[in-house]
């Protein structure tokens, strides 16, 4: 496992060096005093990518515990952003406190322990039933259904779906022992490159908007170009996975597609709440959910497809 992982991390760092050089040249040529907002944002994004790659790299090298802890922290930060935008009332205080300080640790502990039978139903069965009970006991009925639904959806997106990324490491695939972390790397690389390439294709050729009300930056040209290039890259990365090149391409296609629609759904929520970004914690990108939206939609699907056909 280690040689392939090192090789992958080295390629990503190489890619980032290229991106940083291009960013620096663009800045020197077109925005020496920071007057071009697009270039400034591009460079802020590249700098944040460096930090993210270093963190993810450390987590990967640390193995199962590393990725479980990394994504537990991501879930915490994402849930913090999500709940900020909800109608949560004082009466939901205990439901929310328990979501942060009990549900997140428990879900990720179950993932770490590989307890598929429990972690796949813990949130959608137990939390979905117990949460509303705790809120109802406080006796506040105003907006009750809205409040309950918001907390459930927040847990589903920020904790349940996100936790399926580290869960990939627990899959027991024949002939793939000890390489689970590479499956996570495959998912993250494909989904993030798909995001970046949709952005790049959209900026270069984008003319026809897909959903102008939801997301002004999403165009058909960007979507087709991004998904197609991510599929090809995924196919070329088959050596990371237990798949053949064709299978890897199909998986990458599904991942990129789900990632795109994840971004669309999360944009709809942002428009509904009248915000541009989920948060401000990641310079240039916005909040954690802005970066995770596509991963959380593709992770459970990728997990189940792999689990169904390869274990």
């Amino acid at each position: 496992m280690i040689p392939d992982l090192i090789y992958l991390l080295a390629s990503i760092i190489g890619l980032l060096i290229v991106a940083s050089v291009i960013g620096a040249i663009l800045e020197r040529t077109y925005s020496p005093d920071g007057e071009n907002a697009v270039i400034e944002n591009l460079n802020a994004r590249i700098r944040a990518w460096w930090a993210m790659v270093v963190l993810i790299g450390i987590a990967f090298l640390a193995g199962r515990a590393g990725v479980v802890i990394l994504f537990a922290l991501c879930s915490f930060a994402a849930l913090r952003e999500f709940v900020t935008l909800t109608n949560a009332h004082r009466a939901d205080h205990w439901t929310l406190a328990a979501s942060f300080f009990v549900v997140i640790p428990l879900q990720y502990w179950l993932i770490w322990a590989g307890e598929y039978g429990i972690y796949s139903i813990f949130i959608p069965v137990y939390c979905f039933l117990l949460g509303p009970i705790v809120s109802a006991l406080r006796g506040e009925t105003r907006n009750f259904l809205v409040r309950v639904a918001e907390v459930q959806w927040a847990l589903m997106i920020c904790v349940y779906c996100a936790s399926h990324v580290p869960a990939l490491i627990t899959l027991k695939i024949e002939g793939y022992e000890g390489r689970g972390v590479l499956l996570i790397a495959f998912l993250i690389v494909v989904v993030q490159l798909s995001d970046v390439l949709q952005y790049v294709w959209g900026k270069l050729l984008g003319r026809h908007k897909i959903a102008p009300k939801l997301s002004p930056s999403k165009t058909w040209e960007g979507f087709v170009g991004g998904v197609a290039s991510a599929t090809l890259i995924g196919s070329a990365l088959y050596w990371l996975t237990p798949f053949t090149p064709l299978q890897a391409g199909i998986m990458a296609f599904i991942i990129a597609l789900m990632g795109f629609f994840g971004g669309l759904v999360m944009s709809a929520i942002k428009r509904d709440r009248g915000v541009k970004d989920w948060g401000h914690t990641i310079e240039g990108h916005g909040g954690f959910i802005d970066r995770l939206d596509s991963v959380v939609f593709s992770a459970p699907i990728f997990f189940h497809l792999t689990r169904f056909w390869w274990t």
């Binding site: 915490f76 849930l79 913090r80 900020t84 949560a88 205080h93 205990w94 406190a97 942060f100 541009k276």
Partner: protein, 216 residues
Amino acid sequence: MTTELSLPMRIVARLAAHGIEFFARLITAVRAEWIGVEPIPGQRVYYANHASNGDFVLIWAVLPRRLRKSVRPVAGADYWMGSGLKRFVGRHVFNAVLIDRTGGAPREAAVEQMAEALDQGASLIIFPEGTRNLTEEKLLPFKTGLYHLAHARPETAFVPVWIENLNRVMPKGEIVPVPLLCKVTFGSPQHLDGDDKETFLGRTRNALLELSAPLS
């Protein structure tokens, strides 16, 4: 005040300050927005809305370290002179100006204490509503203390500071905080400019309320 402490206790106070700041950031990911002033040294009175016990901690946490050293929150002695731990944190971590709210001391004494702290070169954090706002109102009417302080030291710059969301993090009576994003917005400094009491209190209150309107 900190100079009374032995070296080990000074280290403890410093570590406690870091710990409190880390905890505040973990729970709120607090972000500062400097709209009306720059975060540069200079004597100021920061006045803010008061809805939670953690209000001054949040302002303190977003101030650059250089400014933080000279900033002293004004707080009720009844609360901060309680247990030994609170007393230590209040005096040596936050270097608070502790005033008597019980009514035992003459009213002028509190303003006198704050003016004295200003004379010593400190900046202050105060909550002109006088008490925590637990109502549905955005901001309670100001108590007159703000005016009396401005009257006693007319040169002082009063900077409005709006704290967003902290009341939802820790509603009254709850022990466990719910993590939510918070924002602290700093507005344009206000001066007395010879105003009478009603005008000055109205103007400073409006300046604070203006910051509460969502900007993004």
